[in-house]
């Protein structure tokens, strides 16, 4: 008994015991353990599923078109979202008064907190109404799919680009103007090169997010198994192929972490959220 308490004392004297002595560290420790159990452990468990359940060649082969489609759709929607986000961020940052900036940026960010399903349902409803007015097929086409992707993801591109533009020292703009730069020159040769980090984080956020999309294709295209997110869901709950689904989500996770790791070294994590 004595020996045990000695051993315990020895173990607990070392640094980790600070956690138990200091309630503040204890709080941080408990929260961390929670996140580890419910975020990191599941990821590890699903990786072990790849080995335990095995991968079927058939399913991997039939995943390829889904992966390719998701990749193309994500790339195109990201490009369009960035192309829309640039003029909006530029207008917002360089032409609006401070008070207007707050109001507009709140209006742009607020829908981000509203669930994707609700926004996509609303968009589908709007398109249906437009269909009735114009007598043209819009809903359940590629167009409506891209409209949905752009609707959902453009705010995520605007936020980092706008914040990067806000950080540009206005002296550069004034000197470029004095030296005779036209607005387009100013945008392409001064503003965009300086706000490059913002463009990259916008690109990464939109691309990684849209790649695994599940709600947008389901609601606006009306076809299941079209993009990666839907396919993972189907594999899990319809086919119960946990190994294959784990493999796909692991690849997706690695891609996301690699790209995001690259970005987060440049920008704070913070600006992405608020």
């Amino acid at each position: 008994m004595n020996k045990l308490s000695l051993v315990l004392k020895k173990i607990f004297r070392v640094y980790p015991l600070q956690i138990f002595k200091d309630p503040l560290y204890l709080v941080i420790g408990i929260a961390s353990i929670y996140i580890i159990i419910f975020l990191y452990l599941p990821i590890i468990v699903s990786i072990t599923k790849i080995l335990a359940q095995g991968i079927s060649v058939d399913i991997v082969m039939s995943s390829l078109p889904v992966l390719w489609r998701s990749f193309v759709i994500a790339l195109i929607s990201t490009a369009i979202s960035i192309a829309i986000a640039i003029p909006i961020s530029y207008s917002l940052s360089f032409y609006l008064k401070d008070k207007e900036k707050i109001i507009v940026s709140v209006l742009i960010i607020a829908p981000y907190w509203v669930g994707t399903l609700l926004k996509m349902y609303s968009l589908a409803y709007l398109l249906l109404i437009l269909e009735n007015i114009t007598n043209q097929r819009i809903l359940y086409t590629e167009t409506s799919l891209y409209l949905g992707m752009i609707y959902n993801y453009t705010p995520l591109a605007i936020i980092p680009i706008y914040l990067a533009m806000e950080r540009i020292d206005r002296i550069y703009i004034d000197s470029a103007r004095i030296l005779g730069a036209k607005t387009l020159d100013l945008i392409f040769r001064v503003v965009l090169p300086i706000s490059y980090p913002g463009l990259i984080s916008g690109f990464v956020l939109v691309f990684t997010g849209s790649l695994g999309e599940m709600i947008v294709p389901q609601v606006l295209l009306g076809s299941p198994r079209y993009m990666l997110g839907q396919w993972i869901y189907e594999l899990t709950f319809t086919f119960r192929r946990f190994g294959d689904a784990s493999l796909l989500s692991l690849l997706y996770l690695i891609l996301t972490l690699v790209v995001l790791g690259y970005v987060s070294r440049r920008n704070g994590a913070r600006e992405i959220i608020l």
Partner: protein, 261 residues
């Protein structure tokens, strides 16, 4: 020149805001229209709301949603507050990156899928608790981000003075930090409530057959031919709640951040 620029800028922004808000506004208006798929507000009606909420499934899943979001928002905001305070006082290295940044930033579908596999492996019966535990991971992260930035605004002198005068950590927490951080805690409660209430993907993966929330119910009905005035009525209510919460609170948070910088 400058005036034309400003005019163009305002035009671009207005067009975008119209694009962003017209689906939401049309959906809300449409739920009061007596005719299907045509917005005719000459005789607005509550018919679709009554129709929608006389359905047993809708009532059951609304109750589930409300319960889930209240519990999840209260737990996560309390945790976010305690952890935010502990973080500001101790600043452990790497904590934010690994424990807060990752849950927010990795795609929700990965979190949802791996958690489902985790539950399936453990043979846990899925229901309210499994969904709640899943929601807490992202809600704690958001609550932490919101509340910590407010605690950071509290001048350190106040805390130091209190400490010199003999206050311990608990006293400082309850009598100084809590009142000063209260606006952020309230914001966090509302925002995490909205996040939980609107969440589909994580709920769908971790809820099992017995437990349905409102978004899961809507999800099971949308798809081709799934747009009905009843669902408009349901989504209108959720949209009105979550959009007003997020508009008011992002404004408050923005104002706070303004002060910070």
């Amino acid at each position: 020149m400058k005036r034309i620029g400003r005019f163009l800028a305002l035009l671009i922004i207005s067009i975008y805001l119209v694009f962003l808000y017209s689906p939401i506004i049309i959906n809300i208006l449409g739920s009061f229209s007596p005719r299907k798929y045509i917005i005719d507000l000459s005789t607005p009606t509550l018919h679709w709301f009554i129709e929608a909420f006389s359905n047993k499934d809708v009532i059951a899943s609304s109750t589930n949603s409300i319960k889930l979001s209240i519990v999840s928002s209260l737990i996560s905001s309390l945790t976010g507050f305690l952890v935010g305070y502990a973080y500001v006082m101790r600043r452990p290295r790497g904590f934010i990156d690994v424990m807060i940044y990752v849950p927010i930033i990795i795609p929700e579908i990965i979190e949802a899928f791996t958690l489902a596999i985790f539950y399936i492996t453990l043979r846990v019966e899925m229901g309210f608790t499994t969904v709640l535990l899943g929601h807490l991971t992202f809600n704690i992260a958001y609550a932490f981000v919101i509340i910590r930035s407010r605690i950071d605004l509290i001048p350190r002198e106040i805390i130091n003075v209190a400490r010199v005068l003999g206050a311990n950590d608990l006293y400082i927490l309850l009598r100084i930090v809590l009142p000063l951080a209260l606006p952020a805690i309230l914001s966090s409660i509302f925002l995490t409530f909205a996040l939980s209430f609107d969440d589909l993907i994580k709920t769908l993966f971790t809820s099992g057959p017995g437990f349905k929330t409102l978004p899961v119910l809507i999800w099971s009905k949308v798809g081709r031919g799934g747009i009905t005035p009843e669902i408009n009525a349901i989504t209108t209510i959720i949209l009105l709640i979550s959009l007003s919460i997020s508009l008011v609170l992002t404004y408050i948070i923005r104002k706070d951040l303004e002060k910070l910088s």
